[in-house]
């Protein structure tokens, strides 16, 4: 599937996640955030950068790992990305939806 963000056509899956991380840009993240009703602040960007690093290192993500990351507490994570923080943050970061149940 294709979707246009910030005048750029990118490949996404049926849930709206980028299927090719190399297509990710900050502008795309900002537009996705608009759709989720989130205004991205420095704290948000820090989290997105952390998730992308983990993805590049092929580390599986979980809420527990986020809490131990030193980047953001679990409570803050839920405040920054309400309505499902790990899946929404992953979407904005341009990485696949985590398969973790925890």
């Amino acid at each position: 599937m294709n979707k246009t963000f910030a005048d750029v056509v990118v490949d996404v899956n049926e849930e709206g996640y980028l299927t090719d991380f190399s297509q990710w840009t900050k502008e795309i993240a900002s537009e996705m955030a608009d759709e989720e009703g989130i205004e991205l602040t420095d704290e948000h960007w820090n989290v997105l950068a952390y998730l992308q690093d983990q993805y590049k290192n092929e580390t599986a993500l979980s809420i527990r790992k986020i809490g131990k990351s030193g980047i953001v507490s679990i409570k803050e994570f839920y405040t920054l990305f309400p309505n499902g923080p790990l899946k929404i943050a992953s979407k904005l970061a341009g990485i696949p939806k985590p398969k973790s149940c925890i």
Partner: protein, 161 residues
């Protein structure tokens, strides 16, 4: 025309009445999994479920090795001293590999994630448990009626474990 009804789950109300490690984890993973999907979740700890939120007890929860056919251990062997501890140790080590937190840390994660944690007043009275024996993350000691009142609203599901 009426809008199509939103049938998604909005809130999971979980009742935990047992203290075997497998039941406790089932409950916690469901509660946490709900929050991860943007679904509200609340847990009502009652009867033996109260063991999971008592400071002095929650680190000593175990798997039941007797009366549990899924363990594939003959009941007589399952009753031998040390069997429960051994089975529990093995399960905990497998869980750690999967990044599943221990009970105390899991409760902290749930609380930080916005899961409401309630203790049952009747069971507290019955087992003579005082509030200061419970972990600090407990939101309150409430009655069944209070719990039903908190379950109000469309899209609420209730589950007994």
């Amino acid at each position: 025309m009426d809008k199509p009804k939103d049938k998604t789950i909005k809130k999971m109300m979980l009742v935990l009445s047992r203290a075997t490690l497998d039941s406790v984890y089932a409950c916690f993973i469901l509660a946490n999994g709900a929050r991860m999907e943007g679904i509200e979740s609340e847990i009502f700890f009652t009867f033996f479920g109260l063991e999971a939120i008592q400071k002095e007890k929650l680190k000593h929860l175990r798997i039941a090795t007797t009366g549990n056919p899924a363990m594939h251990i003959p009941t007589l062997l399952g009753g031998l001293p040390g069997m429960e501890a051994l089975a529990t140790k093995m399960m905990k080590s497998e869980m750690e590999k999967l990044d599943i937190p221990p009970v105390d840390e899991f409760l902290e994660i749930l609380s930080a994630s916005g899961t409401k944690l309630w203790a049952c007043k009747l069971a507290m009275d019955m087992f003579h448990i005082e509030k200061d024996q419970l972990i600090d993350e407990i939101d309150d000691v409430i009655t069944v009626g209070d719990f039903y009142a908190k379950s109000e609203g469309e899209g609420t599901q209730m589950m007994f474990i």
